[in-house]
């Protein structure tokens, strides 16, 4: 019996062991814990797109992809364990989907020369590629998000926010604190008042914050929430009858599962976004055909078209396109993490490319360069319709306040450079 068990374990180990020729994409996901509601659809979308590439195209450039999933539970200690255990397998790019883990990994990936892509999260000033050589956060970052919210409010209020009050309900962590600096700058620029209301992890307890909102009656509430915090906040807003159309979330607070629990009361809730919503894209037909119908979907296959599933798939698409670019630059299909970094820095996404991939108009067209790892920072606004249970885009993807954001990025990244003895410059 003992013999049998050992051979079984050995066989399983050999079957599960990494095949070195594959392109390895680690997925530091979280399918458990208070943030799982957001982690699951993202991880499913990320995994399904790579499965689609393998099934339909035979991998990227003739090289099969291999997804290594590691459960972090949104916990930094487990994130470190995941990073260390996957980096030896030739991981090409890390996407931790957690700002806390991102902060942890920024110095590590730079030392190990592995790129990291933090799409719409992480350290905003990583947009300055001269300081953060291995960290990318295209196509948009938190400060674009904050500015996008303010721009939308300006637009819908006739260009004037003077004397209005905006309350920021935020997750009391590095993630939630990230937009405060930009919003403070914008408050002085546009003359509105900003109140900040921190919500502690995991965010189930928000009575006092919403009591304060009820008492102070701010004109608008902006939310930087994640996980279970979103649902609770939207429910609380409904309970105090705060007008939903004046309640705007960042892109991590604007998915189906966040609003569904509040039912009809959540109707009209808005969120900013940097990519399109819905499932009217040809790529989803392919995913249905090659991945879901063949039983190879990462999850139950019911998440397709959800906001966060789309985002996970979008992240995977950008990673795959960067890998293709890297293969083109270095003339080899079997790329290394260092080559992948070059590919990400030379990434060009245009309309024709996206249409060819079955995602016309899915996201903005942009070029990455050494100076700009952050992309164009175009932000659109989506609104929830509780009747049809869909998100729909209610504004075009618009420019954000590059002047304010640019100077903040310069200040923050040069502080990081001087703290860590980095000589800014392009390699």
């Amino acid at each position: 019996m003992k013999m049998k068990l050992t051979t079984l374990a050995l066989g399983a180990m050999m079957a599960a062991g990494p095949v070195m020729a594959d392109l390895v994409f680690p997925s530091l996901s979280y399918r458990t814990g208070p943030y799982a509601a957001g982690g699951i659809p993202f991880a499913d979308g990320y995994a399904d797109y790579f499965t689609l590439l393998n099934e339909r195209d035979g991998g990227i450039g003739g090289e099969m992809t291999k997804l290594v999933e590691c459960e972090t539970g949104y916990n930094t200690e487990k994130g470190v364990e995941c990073y260390e255990s996957t980096k030896g397998q030739g991981a090409l790019v890390y996407q931790p989907l957690s700002t806390g883990i991102t902060y942890q990994l920024i110095p590590k990936v730079t030392a190990d020369n592995i790129p990291m892509h933090t799409m719409g999260y992480g350290r905003t000033s990583a947009a300055n590629g001269e300081v953060f050589s291995n960290v990318f956060n295209y196509p948009a970052n938190y400060w674009n998000g904050a500015s996008g919210v303010v721009n939308y409010l300006l637009e819908s209020n006739g260009g004037d926010l003077k004397g209005k009050t905006i309350a920021l309900v935020f997750h009391n962590s590095a993630y939630g604190k990230e937009p405060i600096r930009t919003l403070e700058e914008l408050a002085t620029k546009h003359g509105f008042n900003l109140t900040t209301l921190p919500v502690d992890h995991p965010g189930q307890e928000q009575k006092s914050q919403w009591l304060q909102i009820r008492r102070e009656r701010p004109d608008f509430v902006v939310m930087w929430g994640w996980g279970v915090m979103n649902q609770v906040a939207i429910q609380e807003a409904a309970n105090i009858r705060f007008p939903m159309e004046n309640f705007i979330g960042v892109w991590w607070s604007g998915a189906e599962h966040d609003v569904l629990s509040a039912g009809a009361k959540a109707d009209g809730y808005k969120a900013v976004t940097f990519h399109n919503v819905g499932r009217d894209f040809p790529v989803f037909d392919d995913i249905q055909k090659y991945v879901v119908d063949t039983g190879k979907a990462a999850g139950a296959g019911d998440q397709i078209g959800n906001v966060l599933y789309n985002r996970g798939m979008y992240a995977a698409m950008l990673a795959a396109e960067a890998a293709k670019t890297a293969q083109g630059i270095h003339g080899t299909a079997d790329i290394t993490p260092a080559m992948m970094r070059d590919g990400m820095e030379a990434l060009v996404i245009d309309e024709a490319k996206m249409a060819a991939l079955g995602m016309p108009n899915f996201g903005p067209a942009f070029n990455v360069s050494c100076e700009n790892h952050g992309g164009p920072g175009l932000v659109g606004v989506t609104q929830w319709d509780a009747e049809s249970k869909t998100w729909s885009l209610i504004s075009d993807f618009a420019e954000t306040d590059g002047e304010v954001i640019g100077s903040l990025i310069d200040a923050d990244s040069s502080a990081y450079a001087s703290e860590n003895g980095i000589e800014p410059g392009c390699k």
Binding site: A12, T32, I40, Q104, S173
Partner: protein, 358 residues
């Protein structure tokens, strides 16, 4: 047969009162030290250091610290996470204010500062006991985390409220930051653990430890026989705080490198260290090691077996981890309420009699 006192003659008081009176124990102790200092640094890689050994070493220090307070002095504390945060933030402020000073000194100073803070929060222990004291230390936990979140001076006014360990060295060897070699970080933590364990062991078997245990067993009786409860309780808080502060400083500076107080030093950390102490064995230095090893290694082992060997989905394995660790904690507490240390003690007793059990 080989594990026994018989034939091991002591000819001086010193020999008679040494830590490991049995020769086999002594040899084993030196072998463990030799392997830890002489062999592992040559074999270690990043994965072993960052995923397994560093957390084990650091949690062991924290568990020793808490064991002194809970296991030896009988003062229940739920503030471990908060006190570790004090160590981490003290170390961060020292590192950034005095960059040229050696990390050894920073870590020790961070421990000292935590000791002082711990004494401050230990003052209520003179009036309240048991569950009430647990609640008082729970307040310390929440207050300290709130403080480090609230006052920007502690995190040097950084935008995200995180603290990041800059690169620092010891005798020219980089010890913090991403470029630190894994053997160096491992040895640095190991030196601290060894020193802490030796100090703790000798404190607990001397006068000081006896007065702590007297207070634990019955404080009124202890007072009658001449133990000063103020002194005994506050020294327990001070020593325990020092160890926990050292572990917090290492946890931030060496192991994680970037820390967010609410996430890294929340109430779950306090419970984790308390579980280590309870599972390992209250009032035992060895138990602190065993408890830390159990709670650090078990999740990693389960993950490797479940995901890498059996190829199960990661979420199923993560859920199983919770179930298995929880079930094992319950199992241990029912079968062996005195923890892993008691199992070890029983094994030693059996060894002494072996092979003639009667």
């Amino acid at each position: 047969m080989f594990y026994r006192e018989a034939g091991d003659f002591k000819v001086s008081y010193q020999e008679d009162s040494q830590t490991f009176p049995i020769k086999f124990d002594r040899v084993r102790y030196y072998v463990v030290l030799a392997v830890a200092f002489g062999l592992i640094p040559f074999l270690i890689n990043d994965y072993w250091a960052n995923a397994i050994l560093l957390p084990f070493l650091i949690y062991s220090i924290a568990a020793i610290g808490l064991n002194i307070l809970v296991g030896y002095a009988g003062q229940v504390s739920l503030g471990t996470g908060g006190f570790m945060a004090v160590g981490a933030y003290a170390c961060y402020k020292l590192m950034t204010t005095f960059p040229e000073v050696s990390m050894f000194i920073h870590v020790i100073l961070a421990g000292g500062i935590t000791g002082l803070v711990c004494v401050l929060f230990g003052l209520p222990s003179l009036r309240i006991k048991g569950f009430y004291l647990a609640v008082a230390t729970l307040a310390a936990q929440f207050f300290l985390v709130w403080l480090f979140n609230r006052v920007p001076w502690f995190y040097n006014y950084s935008a995200s409220g995180q603290i990041n360990a800059p690169e620092r060295d010891v005798f020219g060897i980089i010890i913090t930051g991403p470029n630190a070699p894994s053997w160096a970080t491992y040895l640095f933590c190991l030196i601290f653990l060894t020193l802490c364990a030796i100090v703790a062991r000798n404190l607990t078997r001397g006068t000081q430890g006896r007065s702590w245990m007297a207070i634990r067993d019955m404080d009124i009786a202890a007072e009658i026989i001449g133990v000063n409860p103020l002194r005994a309780k506050l020294t327990a808080f001070a020593v325990s705080g020092f160890f926990i502060g050292v572990s917090g400083a290492l946890f931030f500076a060496i192991y994680l490198g970037a820390v967010e107080v609410g996430e890294a030093f929340g109430i779950t950390k306090s419970f984790l260290v308390l579980f280590m102490v309870i599972i390992g064995g209250l009032g035992s230095i060895f138990g602190s090691f065993a408890g830390a090893a159990f709670l650090v290694l078990l999740p990693v082992v389960l993950k490797v077996v479940g995901v890498d060997v059996l190829g199960w989905p990661t979420d199923i394995v993560a859920h199983f981890q919770l179930v298995i660790v929880g079930a094992l904690i319950v199992f241990f507490l029912i079968v062996e309420p005195h923890g892993l240390a008691q199992l070890w003690r029983v094994a030693k007793e059996k060894l002494r009699l072996w092979p003639f059990p009667h």
